[in-house]
């Protein structure tokens, strides 16, 4: 279970998201929505709910995401996601964690590489789904704990990012 807050029209909308079979279960506003997501191409995905399918279009500019599904368009800024049980302590953004148990399929950087905030570093596969882990801050890669093929636990630290220059071999 992970919690995420979407800021829509100035209001904070808290959502709880959990894996559910090969899809997701989302609790929002007292409702539970079950959906499966299939990416068809950049900006277009198929969302399945029960026996209905919906095309989803999405685009992002200036940190705001615009999403259209089934005649409804919303725009939101996503707050930092937190695990329900342990909110990230200060400085947590230096740690790159696996969000769920899985297998590392790609490591896109090496120790000492300078990375920007949001850059894709590691890909973890879990439940037939691949999850791109991105740098939570700009800096340089200080430690890499995983290699492709490694199994990781949910919440495990896979990499650490430090200030540029520090810890670089």
């Amino acid at each position: 279970m992970r919690e995420v807050t979407l800021r829509i029209d100035g209001a904070a909308v808290p959502c709880a998201v959990a894996p559910d079979g090969d899809g997701w279960m989302v609790e929002v506003g007292g409702q539970t929505v079950r959906l499966r997501v299939t990416v068809l191409e950049p900006g277009v995905a198929l969302v399945e709910t029960g026996d209905r399918s919906h095309l989803v279009h999405s685009a992002t500019a200036s940190g705001r995401t615009y999403l259209h599904v089934d005649g409804v368009t919303i725009s939101y800024e996503a707050g930092a996601t937190t695990r329900a049980a342990d909110a990230a302590p200060s400085g947590e953004d230096r740690y790159l964690r696996a969000p769920m148990p899985g297998t590392v399929t790609q490591v896109a950087v090496g120790v000492g590489d300078v990375v920007r905030s949001g850059q894709a570093l590691v890909v973890v596969e879990a439940m037939k789904m691949e999850h791109v882990l991105r740098a939570g801050r700009a800096g340089s890669v200080r430690v890499l704990h995983v290699r492709p093929g490694d199994r990781v636990d949910g919440g495990a630290v896979v990499a650490e990012i430090g200030p540029v220059g520090a810890g670089t071999p």
């Binding site: 090969d22 990416v39 900006g43 940190g63 409804v72 920007r116 789904m129 939570g136």
Partner: protein, 510 residues
């Protein structure tokens, strides 16, 4: 006539360019700075810059428009709607340069453009007008006396023009003096004259108009009615043809009244005669629009007549009737099926329809049987703040009104505009409303059923956004708020799709 300058912008410029193409006429687009990258200049054969964003420096600047015509060798001017479309001075200036004006003669525009004059003309021709006071240059005292005579509520209107400016509904005598002052001020600012007229306010009225075509030889044909009752701020939002309220008898009366007024005015080219129709089916002349209407496509779909091509051909001297005429079916145009138009605007219906300009990051326009989209949009363009918020029109045609409503709801649901807030969801809610389905359209429809509308359920959209946010994960959102140019929007740091590249959840064939 070989080359047409289109003195307009947006979706109507696109529409006119396409009609010119079909007639093998070359086109010249004119643009103010914010429209340099818009869709329509790209579609024209030539384009000419007008200048700054302010309409007075561009689309309303007669000298610059005529210069553009001279430099490009255009020999005709189509004014579209809005801007200078109903300016008798512009029409006269175009004709003075030896160019063809795609519209009625300037003296007809002037006669009908003054609402007081148009009202007197209709009255003199025996067409009923809304009870009221329409003396030219009526004083406040005369208007107050007239209001007392006809009874409240009353409508004050600017004699010099429409679009809701200078228009006030007044419910009680003590409110009238202040309303007259503010309406005069608004009318002066909008139209350069503060003349007002006053009419009884018709509650539960429908706004129904008749399309007419007239040639220079005096042939005059009415092409049925459009109902345009769904309005906000006295501006139309949804139009349809035929009207669910109009039967054969009322249609015949409206068409007769429309052609009577048009004939009395010496009308030539395409025009629209507007009426209010009360709950008893009594019709009252309102005004004549001496130009192409925004909502012309609903008439095109049910009659099969291309009104823009008709305008161009009439301007070039073609006849309406006869073997080479514009109307091969002669005078009888029974509507086939039902057509509805929705105006898509960059505005926020949940917040008093406030304009919401912005970039077009993603654009997906609906297509399919009976679905037409007249659009001025292009992905990568930014909707400017300076002009009308209307972006596009969705027009559908089906065998029945119910079929048209279902088709419209589906088409609106498939219209994807990301980056710039629009009224698409609102329009969909309106056409799906049961009162709309029953044809209970009146000018108070939105006020009655949608005054407190704040958006429909967005559960699926929010849930999907939440999943994307989790996939984005670990506070990686954003690039620090640096604005990304529209063309690079998808390369933004927190694009769920960019991140989702490697994701495959429940593959389609699973």
């Amino acid at each position: 006539m070989r080359k047409v300058l289109i003195a307009n912008r947006g979706e109507i410029a696109v529409r006119i360019i396409r009609a010119c193409r079909e007639l093998d006429l070359a086109t010249v687009a004119v643009f103010a700075e914010p429209d340099r990258e818009a869709l329509y200049p790209r579609l024209a054969d030539e384009r000419a810059a007008l200048g700054a964003a302010d309409p007075r420096e561009s689309y309303l600047h007669v000298g610059r428009l005529l210069d553009a015509a001279r430099k490009t060798g255009a020999d005709a001017v189509h004014p579209g709607y809005g801007f200078l479309a109903e300016s008798a001075e512009f029409a006269a200036a175009v004709l003075d340069r030896g160019l063809t004006w795609v519209g009625p003669p300037p003296e007809v525009i002037a006669r009908l453009g003054d609402k007081t004059e148009a009202r007197r003309l209709a009255e003199a021709a025996g067409v009923p007008v809304v009870p009221g006071h329409g003396e030219p240059r009526a004083s406040d005292a005369a208007l107050v006396r007239a209001a007392r005579r006809i009874g409240f509520p009353v409508m004050i209107k600017a004699a010099g023009g429409g679009g809701g400016r200078g228009m006030r509904r007044v419910d009680a005598a003590e409110e009238l003096p202040a309303a007259l002052v503010s309406a005069r001020r608004e009318a002066q600012a909008a139209f350069g004259q503060d003349a007002l007229l006053l009419e009884r306010h018709l509650d539960e009225a429908r706004h129904i108009e008749v399309q007419v075509l007239a040639d220079a030889a005096g042939a005059l044909v009415a092409l049925g009615e459009r109902e345009c009752s769904i309005q906000r701020r006295h501006q139309k939002l949804i139009e349809e043809a035929p009207s669910p309220f109009v039967g054969a008898d009322l249609r015949a009366r409206l068409e007769r009244a429309a052609t009577t007024v048009a004939a009395a005015a010496g009308y030539v080219n395409a025009g629209t005669v507007e009426f209010l129709v009360d709950a008893n089916g009594q019709h009252y002349f309102l005004e004549v629009n001496t130009r192409l209407q925004v909502e012309h496509p609903v008439t095109e779909l049910v009659t099969g007549v291309d009104l823009v091509k008709a305008q161009l051909r009439l301007a070039a001297g073609s006849r309406l009737l006869g073997a080479d005429g514009i109307l091969p079916e002669g005078r009888s145009y029974a509507a086939r099926g039902h057509a509805i138009e929705c105006r898509v605007a960059a505005e926020d219906p949940a917040h008093a329809y406030r304009p919401s300009p912005g970039p077009i990051l993603t654009l997906g326009e609906p297509r399919g049987p009976g679905v037409r989209v007249d659009s001025g949009l292009r992905a990568g363009w930014r909707v400017p703040v300076e002009y009308d918020p209307m972006l596009a029109k969705v027009i559908v045609h089906a065998e029945t009104r119910d079929g048209a409503i279902a088709r419209m709801a589906d088409a609106l649901g498939r219209y994807v505009i990301l980056g710039c807030q629009t009224n698409l969801e609102f329009l969909r809610a309106v056409v799906r409303h049961e009162a709309f389905g029953r044809g209970e359209t009146s000018t108070r429809f939105l006020e009655r059923h949608f005054a407190a509308w704040a958006g429909g359920p967005a559960g699926l959209a929010v849930a999907t956004g939440a999943v994307f946010a989790v996939l984005g994960a670990e506070g990686t959102a954003g690039t620090g708020g640096a604005p990304a140019p529209p063309g690079e929007a998808r390369a933004g740091a927190w694009d769920p799709w960019a991140q989702l590249g490697p994701w495959r959840m429940g593959a389609v064939d699973a």
